[in-house]
Assembly symmetry: D2
Homo-oligomer: 339 residues x 4
């Protein structure tokens, strides 16, 4: 099996997950360099314990290393387009965390460079690699439920991020719902034409003062006629609620939450089940290694990975249409924001 030398840019929370997966769960890979702009003692120690062979604060060491074939970009969003373009110019294959950027123009420019250089670019919408959502997709792909007609996504975080984070997040539709736009498109097998979004501040007034909402509902119209429904909240006190349902002409597929365990306790008062596991680290951990394995497999077989740059672009477009819809309280077509 063909082996890959890999460079990782960014060793924050998500970067560490990818680094650990590369070192411990992937085979036929060599993590040659990890680049992070802020190298401190704690990171050094973590890298040593983990077995990272080289740590640098200069990402260009990765681009300049002829042995490195694959670049995994986990740095802050506003650095993505630059790093993707540099990697592309150095003829390296790119896995980039989502989103590529929050500006349509910059995404499109970057996708042009990607196209010209002929490299492959995969974007880390990891939920597509969750075993449950894959199974939904398979049920649809195999025709078990016929034509998808209604796609329902429940996506609720257990607790809101900090107000500081909210302020720079780009808004709930771009920060949180972005995963759901992607999931809806993935399951519908079609592109969004129009979106109606609404929402409210029901969790924390501070989120409202920061110019955002904490509860959101969106209705999507897809080109194939299917209708999508998404509901989000920043705070589901009972845990990280992540469900997908696709109703079709021949049936319906429902992916429920992962349980903490399979135990039921029957008592005189009621029956108890433990609450669902807390957050994305637990729920989606496996999907992170699965997506990277898939990406390397695409490279080995020379096939276009999905979700790719075009998916990212569509997701950001839907987010922008949703934001506009919320602000103007009317359905908004994707073409209105894609100029």
């Amino acid at each position: 099996m063909r082996s890959f030398s890999i460079g990782v840019i960014g060793a924050g929370r998500i970067g560490k997950i990818h680094i650990e997966n590369i070192l411990r769960k992937l085979t036929n890979v060599n993590l040659k360099i990890v680049a992070d702009i802020k190298i401190n003692d704690k990171l050094k120690q973590w890298a040593t314990e983990m077995g990272v062979s080289k740590l640098t604060n200069d990402a260009y060491e990765i681009f300049n290393d002829p042995e490195i074939e694959v670049v995994v970009i986990c740095s802050p969003t506003d650095t993505h387009t630059n790093f993707i373009q540099e990697a592309a110019k150095a003829n390296k294959q790119v896995f980039c965390e989502k989103p590529i950027d929050t500006h349509i123009k910059r995404i499109k420019e970057t996708l042009s460079v990607v196209k010209e250089t002929g490299i492959k670019l995969m974007v880390g919408f990891n939920r597509r690699f969750d075993r449950n959502f894959i199974r939904c997709h398979e049920a649809i792909a195999s025709g078990q439920i016929g034509e998808p007609q209604i796609i329902k996504i429940t996506s609720r975080d257990p607790a809101p991020p900090t107000i500081e984070y909210i302020k720079v997040s780009g808004g709930i539709f771009l920060d949180m719902t972005i995963h759901d736009w992607d999931m809806a498109r993935f399951q519908a097998g079609s592109e969004v034409e129009e979106v109606y979004a609404t929402g409210a501040v029901l969790i924390d007034p501070e989120i409202g003062k920061a110019g955002d909402i904490d509860t959101a509902v969106a209705v999507l119209k897809f080109r194939n006629g299917a209708i999508g429904i998404i509901d989000n909240t920043r705070q589901a006190v009972y845990g990280y609620d992540q469900r997908v349902e696709v109703f079709g002409s021949k049936g319906c597929v429902v992916a429920d939450n992962e349980a903490a365990n399979t135990v039921r306790i029957y008592t005189e008062e009621c029956t108890n089940i433990d609450k669902i596991p807390y957050f994305f680290m637990e729920r989606y951990m496996e999907s992170y290694s699965t997506e990277l394995k898939y990406f390397l497999e695409c490279l080995r077989k020379n096939i276009e990975p999905k979700p790719n740059g075009e998916d990212d672009l569509q997701n950001v477009l839907v987010a922008m249409a949703a934001q506009k819809s919320y602000e103007e309280n009317r359905p908004v077509k994707i073409t209105e924001v894609d100029k």
Copy 2:
């Protein structure tokens, strides 16, 4: 316990259910007269077997009978307002099948008469009396899930009605979603302010030709800030899919479908569960006797029954706003249709 003499107007499908429940499941009641405009041999035979003591084609025999205290109206919708008003003038308590009427003006006129005469009027939104949806409501009422923030209703019929029925149905929002408007209001504990509705013809093009849609999605904004989501389809091939979910500040309550049985069959291929029971006769049968018992209990205790005429009015207003929203592809405020 105080006993009631009852007259029933209309012995069609739903009338027969009420008659059977009065005769076999209610106590301290006397079904004195059943009136139906079309009395044929089949109905006569059914009435005899069931033990109906008197069958007439003249509803006024009921209004004129001083012993009869309670009138149950199950005749076609366009006769409801007349019969309610006649019953009210005769000082009888009225249980009327939903909806009272499809014209706001006539509903309001009728509610005025009801108010003047001081009788009690309950409208048969029977799903409020389903044991599962009652349990949801209790969970909310008891504060277990805090303030309701998102109300999600899945309401899917197993098969579409005939095209003839579709043509006179008043449209999906008034014919089918009417139950869901009521359920959403019941669970939200608040009135709807604005509705956005969309839909499509995905099941049968003939439905489209008849001027209706067969797949519908609606988003509701409630006065208390909660957001409602409803999805409907005329054809869920896997059965009558009726679920309610209410997300709140302190938790979430979910009422799933009733199962055909509790059996799971594990085989080499997969695990099988029998499909959900077919239609409303099976799913909601118990709710029909429960709602009548509740109504008689309200009469005994002299308390206002719910859902009443005002609920019916609100449900019809939401249906009209939904229709307008669908037609104009924009959110519509209830005040726009309530003039």
Copy 3:
């Protein structure tokens, strides 16, 4: 459809259930006489409200009535054999509550009379008519799980009966497990050859003082090679726990408890489901009307009903072998108690 005139003997708890079902749930039947040795005002009032046309304290009025074709025997166990024999001699079809008797000899004598007279005798092991256990049986009968190899029955009462009842009950194996012997044989499709039973007094020492146990476990060996496992307790504080599992060469079928409702409540602490409904009245209510309908159907089609007298005999034999096994702490063959 052929109609039947019915006489019921015994209007206690179970008799009342049958009477109500005959009057309200069966069609083409005429409940002509109800006989009970103790007629008091309360029973008279109940009979009137229910619409019982004739109440007598003399069962022979039923036997002597030439119009009555079917006798339903719900009187105390020690009267069963006499009434069955009298009914048989009067050429009436008999539905008898379980068990026919607690003495093998008297059961056999009675079955001889039944055989000679050629009447049909069905015994009221109603759990065979529970929709869930029927579904298990169908899965086996249709070959979905192959040859049954392990039959597991969980059968737990919510609360023990009174000590007075325990004293005359005949012991847990004859009083409570009798239903499970029948269920095991029903699902196994084979007769029991050997039984090992053990038990303990874990709920209430008074039960031990009364000479009985309150917790029991039995292992059955069937002629077809299958092995049965039953566990009983007189007190499951979380409700009436009634489950059946059949493991076979090609799969496994599991019938779980009926739920109080389908609602789940997710909170910060855990997820709650309401406790299972309380007792046999609720869980098995439907099975009582289903078994009578089935019996009348057998009469109409002139086919042998099941479970019949032979089933009752086998169930009592297994109970006796179990009692002996418990007392002697060794496996006991059915042939040891069937002399």
Copy 4:
């Protein structure tokens, strides 16, 4: 945190699992030597890829290495007592795969040596570390279900091992049920006094010819009065069926199987759930790293690990009593086999 140098003896299937866990999932450990009597190229390659620093065919290199503090024994069962004793004499802490031995005398001798040397010995009954069974145990320990009264274990393999394996396995009670004896004791919190075991050859006649059975049922009586029920089969075609249920005076705790995913597919025919994952590698993978972490934690805190040598001895005693019970078709007391 205190760090440990570890030597592993045996690099077969289970040895490889432990080696991988030590290298990739445990922290503050150093895998210094792996010893295996059969070192071939394939093993060498595996070890290199995995990052094993030293591979030897001489286990005594481990015993003689003063730096190594912990020995993990994964060699064939008949070598366990020797290796444990050697390790103990070299003053090393021992984690040994189950069982220590199949001869009571040799187990007891070994436990004496362990006691004299004062080392800690843990035995790898890994199922105690399954998240679901831990949760059961916690429910009991916290008093949620009161006193345990009935312990039910369903333990079914997806497919039988080879006949060659069966012949040297020691019989189903020692080979397969051994895990269930341990689980029953773990959940009951008490020792077994008496066992009744029965069984049959229902899967494959070759297993019978090899002197074993493939279907087994056992009833256990515990010192605390609880009763245990275990059922085993060598072939559940629907997957690896591993369930535990503990009924107590105040409730019942049930641990169901882990699901392949949370997806349900509703179709016109029925609802489908994917079959349960295949075998112990998948179901119990996490438990293997959890048990080793726990053992190291015990060493750090200087507390006696559980399950230890005494647990292993009890499990083997119960297995022998079960075998005797099966052969003699009578309940057998543990004291009968513990001489």
